[in-house]
Point group: none
Chain length 221, copies 4
DNA sequence: CATGAATGAGAGTTCATTCAT
DNA sequence: TATGAATGAACTCTCATTCAT
């Protein structure tokens, strides 16, 4: 990063468009080929931009990947923050959170995989990856503590470990579904996750009290 | 893979030793640097073998990685197959399986990560990765069905989805612990996983009935 | 050089200022980084001028360097032409010329070095470099011939070779002092050069008439 | 310098030959094009070696240039150290030293120029350049002091400054002759230099007492 | 078989110059 | 004229694989 490339957003409309085209093209190519196998020429070719123009906007392959990854992180953060409407029942909240996370992961699975791929050797992306995951787990921790205070969740569980594992369960499921082609009925997945989660923290889980549509899950992009 | 390298075991003792040294060195270097950043020279250097000799034993970098990966798969398979002694209570069986898997993952985490890293672009390793995981999940499926037949586990659950998710939960936990440095008390992890698992399939889980040592968990390789 | 840039002086005051700023900035950057390592962006950045404007005033990096070099040549020419007041004694004339040359070189050493650096591959700058040097040597030739005619300098010397060598001696001394950090007392340098020069052409050089501190009592011979 | 290239001399005869061919080719190309304009491909092409083989022997363009420069320094050192036979008269010693230096410079002029060219930005080569020059000047200092002790050279001169300037005079003359095409009769040059030098340090210089051949000057490589 | 030098097709990055606005 | 983004040829260095010894 030698500072030659425009640091912030380029000032002109044309520049903004070109930069955006590069980021979009980069995301596609990174998803298709991974980080190492992505060539700058591949990005510029897809963006319809001259090779050298890449370096007008980004200092390196890492830099544009960071840009892509930040966008992904934003989307995942939004999904993690999305809460069910006030007054929603605990189990529906869990169902909602699970569904939103799966939806978000579905849209970002391949690029998330690339972020994870390079994270061992790029601390920056490792952090980003852990932050995305961390936020989701934090929400589970907070939600579980609230349920404990309300007296509906078991009070004898290790909330941190439990939240990490339940979050991991959903994340891993997302990976299997969207990266490794494991096939399950989406409703069954959400319902099974909800059951495991609810029972795991000591809620009384019975048959799905309402259809998934009613709680806004699986909005199908 | 042009078949130039010895296909089976090399006939001489010396050759066998060299080949073994290469595989061992390769595993170490792959763990340290990942697949892309591993150099043939790095492997031969660590193995104390001449550069050119590499191609006497292996056709390519992929070939030796495959050899390494097969070894890892074997170790993981063994862990997945390990069952608690006959007569063990269901919850102790779960605790046992969880502990064995975590132990096996701890010993193979880094190389598993590398296998996963390259799996998107190498169908062979993708299959291997899925097989390792698949065997573990199959065992959960079988175990759960047995518990259903015995009438101790809920009968209304989707066993395939449940097993995939519980397996994923444990696997993801292993990743967080051994690859991303998430810190948890190992006993708490095993116990929390056991609780989530047991409750999730409808068993009556209460306080840990015995200390972890007694069921052979955390055997420290 | 396609002639797109304004050939002569730009007509407007604003343009003249910009051009001047570019030349001044160019000289500084060339001095600091040499020709190859100087970037157009470095020049425009220091001049506070838009990148693209550079080509409004100059056709190429060579063109602006030529402009800079011409300025340097002018300064050096002035120094070479500077003669001691009429009636000055021969040795004082030599001392004067030496001092003026050293002063001029001190002010232009770094850029002179750059001119010389690129001279092997740019005939234009090679000529310029040789002209600067040539004028100085010519003055020495003329002065020496005059002294020969006056009967105070040896008549059996090859004036061209002698002048070239004496000029080179002073020039080389300037290079060592101002480019390579060789440390000498400036007065000693001037005096030593004067002595070598004077004695070399056969003048009677005795004690420096202006430095009473200097010891140096010569043998009567 | 990442240490991949063979550090010392390559062990095999073949390797030695290849390395030598590269150094020889490099010297030629550096002389023709200067440091910046020399391409690795130019060196390997001339040496009849594959592009990649360059990096088997050298880590970088700087590394091979250093090798070339060390060779040149060696030749120049030898010339500087060369002394006239015992019993040679002082003026003949000066004539000898001058001639040897000019001969050595003639053979190394272009590469010396390249060393100087890059010296401002490469401290290593700057040192080398100054060492070459320094040794020659030291010899002059030593010789002059001896002549002072013998009572034949002026005792009131600043030997360090005088030696630097006389050495610089010869060096500069060499540059003009061999780099800038200034034309002088070689014998006249040697004789003029000898005269200026001798008279400058106070020796009684008269007409050349013998022909240059007799003192081993201008040995034509 | 053992050895390690030889090979050369890329890869990312630079930057003088051009050109659209 | 002023601006700064656009262009793409060029360059160095890498390294899996081959091959001569």
């Amino acid at each position: 990063m030698n500072g030659r490339a425009t640091t912030g957003r380029p000032p002109t409309e044309r520049g903004r468009r070109k930069r955006g085209a590069l980021v979009q093209a980069a995301r596609e190519v990174f998803e298709e080929r991974g980080f190492e196998d992505t060539r700058i020429a591949g990005i510029t070719g897809r963006a319809g931009v001259a090779y050298g123009s890449f370096y007008t906007y980004f200092d390196s392959k890492e830099a544009i990947f960071h840009e892509v990854a930040k966008g992904v992180a934003g989307e995942m953060f939004d999904a993690a923050r999305s809460a069910a409407p006030p007054g929603t029942e605990p189990i529906d909240r869990i169902r909602h959170a699970t569904g939103r996370f799966l939806d978000a992961y579905r849209d970002n699975a391949r690029i998330m995989q690339v972020i994870e791929q390079i994270s061992p050797r790029h601390p920056l992306f490792r952090s980003l990856f852990l932050e995305i995951r961390g936020l989701f787990v934090e929400r589970i921790v907070a939600g579980t503590r609230r349920l404990q205070e309300e007296g509906v969740a078991s009070s004898d569980i290790d909330v941190a470990a439990t939240a990490s594992m339940l979050g991991g369960m959903v994340e891993h499921t997302a990976r299997m579904l969207y990266l490794y082609g494991e096939e399950h009925d989406p409703e069954v997945v959400v319902e099974t996750a909800t059951r495991l989660w609810a029972r795991g923290i000591g809620l009384d889980y019975e048959d799905p009290p309402r259809s998934p549509e009613e709680v806004g899950v699986r909005d199908g992009k």
